[in-house]
């Protein structure tokens, strides 16, 4: 056995006559009978070829202008597809196998691609629209420095938010730690109102109507109801009246949306908390 000088794959095996050396060009390009395998030569060449492709891929994105640009996508994808199928065809010797195996593998591969494509299209990855949600909320990242302050926000995974389930990081410039009033602190904090409502400089939520100026607007929502009562009712029983275009808002809102979320939050708020919230919203003139 030790007499075998390192290119064992290229030598026919004593027992299995079918393991012949296919020759380099026939191995890669020719039609070879099933059961043929390569040896050090063939696999070595392929390994070098794959390494070179990897190197080219890397070199493509070395120029700073090309990093993350869309023109490199096509070449990179093509190169890696080549790598992919080289490994499948030769390292996994699918080229020399029963066709059935090809079919099985390609079936799985195609299904996987279809699933991926379906998901990607479903979520509109190729359309910029869904990013309208995250874009205005992005917070710049500074290495290490801000780690401490970001800790709370860091625990939150906000997009696309399951209804109200996640509090938003406060708007840039706002500092929840030094809220102007206990009501505001609740709004952005424990009561999680900020996950759905926008108040300039305090919170950015999109699921509910913006609450800037709600203190005065509230008086006009339901005839005969004072601003305070309306706000209190909006918090305790949001489904009673759903604000919408009739109130000069940009869209009709769904009262049940807030109701279902508040069902989980309300029990944890004391009467005093509610009063503080109402006071705070009333102060937004």
């Amino acid at each position: 056995m030790s007499s075998n000088p390192g290119h064992e794959g290229a030598l026919p095996h004593e027992e299995h006559g079918s393991h012949e050396d296919a020759g380099i060009s026939r191995f890669f390009f020719g039609r070879v009978p099933a059961g043929v395998h390569g040896g050090l030569k063939q696999y070595g060449i392929l390994a070098i070829f794959l390494a070179i492709i990897t190197l080219i891929e890397f070199l493509i994105i070395v120029p700073e202008g090309l990093q993350g640009s869309s023109i490199v996508i096509a070449p990179l994808v093509i190169l890696s597809v080549i790598k992919f199928f080289c490994v499948v065809a030769f390292f996994m010797h699918l080229k020399f196998e029963n066709e059935l195996l090809w079919q099985i593998f390609v079936a799985g591969l195609v299904l996987g691609l279809v699933v991926a494509l379906a998901l990607v299209l479903l979520f509109g990855v190729f359309r910029p629209t869904p990013r309208a949600f995250s874009e205005p909320r992005a917070m710049p990242f500074e290495h290490h420095a801000a780690e401490e302050e970001h800790h709370y926000e860091a625990l939150v995974v906000p997009t696309p938010c399951p209804v109200g389930a996640c509090p938003q990081p406060a708007a840039p410039g706002a500092n929840p730690g030094a809220a102007a009033s206990p009501g505001q602190a609740l709004f952005v904090g424990a009561a999680a109102c900020s996950s759905c409502h926008t108040i300039s400089g305090v919170a950015q939520g999109v699921l509910g109507p913006p609450l800037d100026g709600i203190g005065s607007a509230a008086a006009n929502r339901i005839p005969g109801q004072s601003a305070e009562d309306y706000i209190r009712e909006s918090i305790l029983e949001p489904d009673v009246y759903a604000a919408g275009t009739a109130d000069g808002l940009s869209q009709d809102y769904d009262g049940n949306l807030m109701l279902s979320t508040m069902a989980g939050i309300l029990p944890s708020l004391s009467d005093e908390d509610i009063d503080n919230l109402v006071d705070y919203l009333l102060s937004l003139q």
Partner: protein
């Protein structure tokens, strides 16, 4: 193993008493175990397909950093990609050695593969730890969750593969007379190469293309690049 051929003297328990590891006869001409492996690999495509798609769906949607550009290290990962690629080469050489019944070479190539695979995992551990230190935990943002899920599962595949190869190496070291058979090594090789091709895809999408994503506007580039394709359908 349990079925000892009773027509022979039961005293002979040496491995050679096993039927030679010949391909079994099947209606398709493909050994069942190999078929099973390919079916598994086909379905594993779906598994990784969905994880990769999930990453792409949430690409550029994180609203807190670190974003990919803040921490993804493309040069280092290019090296680890190279390492994994080379492990595919040593693996295929191990398969060739096993097929030719060259036990000694088989063990050598297996050990090379194990070392290279371990090297790849080493890179990954290094990378994950660096991310942790930089403040990127599993639950930090959408990027981190999808990234760690995808690359974590891939790393788990590699780790499993390493254990498998260690088993093969140990078996062949202790039992030079015919086990593992060429097919045993072959099937492990298929799994190993599959893990490699999954990484080829991950490396391209998450590192070369997605590694420079900054905040939420990342992915716009992709959107532009693909606009002409979607334009055909709409």
């Amino acid at each position: 193993m349990a079925h000892v051929d009773t027509t022979h003297a039961p005293a002979e328990h040496e491995p050679a008493a096993h039927p030679p590891a010949h391909e079994e006869e099947t209606t398709t001409g493909i050994s069942h175990r190999k078929l099973l492996m390919w079916v598994f690999l086909g379905s594993d495509c779906l598994f990784f397909g969905s994880l990769i798609a999930t990453y792409m769906v949430y690409r550029g949607q994180s609203i807190v950093g670190p974003y990919p550009i803040d921490i993804i290290d493309v040069p280092v990962t290019t090296i680890s990609t190279f390492v994994l690629l080379m492990s595919s080469f040593t693996m295929v050489m191990a398969v060739a050695a096993a097929r030719n019944g060259n036990q000694r070479r088989l063990i050598q190539w297996l050990v090379c593969t194990i070392i290279l695979g371990g090297g790849f995992i080493g890179f990954q551990v290094y990378e994950f730890n660096l991310f942790r230190v930089e403040g990127l935990r599993y639950e930090t943002n959408l990027f981190s969750s999808t990234f760690f899920t995808l690359t974590g599962f891939h790393g788990a595949h590699v780790t499993l593969g390493i254990f498998w190869l260690i088993c093969l190496a140990v078996i062949s070291a202790r039992n030079p007379a015919g086990r593992p058979s060429g097919e045993d090594v072959d099937i492990a090789g298929l799994y190993w190469h599959f893990v490699d091709i999954v990484w080829i895809v991950i490396f391209t999408l998450l590192y070369l293309i997605g590694g420079f994503d900054s905040g939420p506007d990342a992915g716009h580039a992709a959107a532009q690049g693909w606009q002409w394709i979607t334009g055909i359908f709409t």
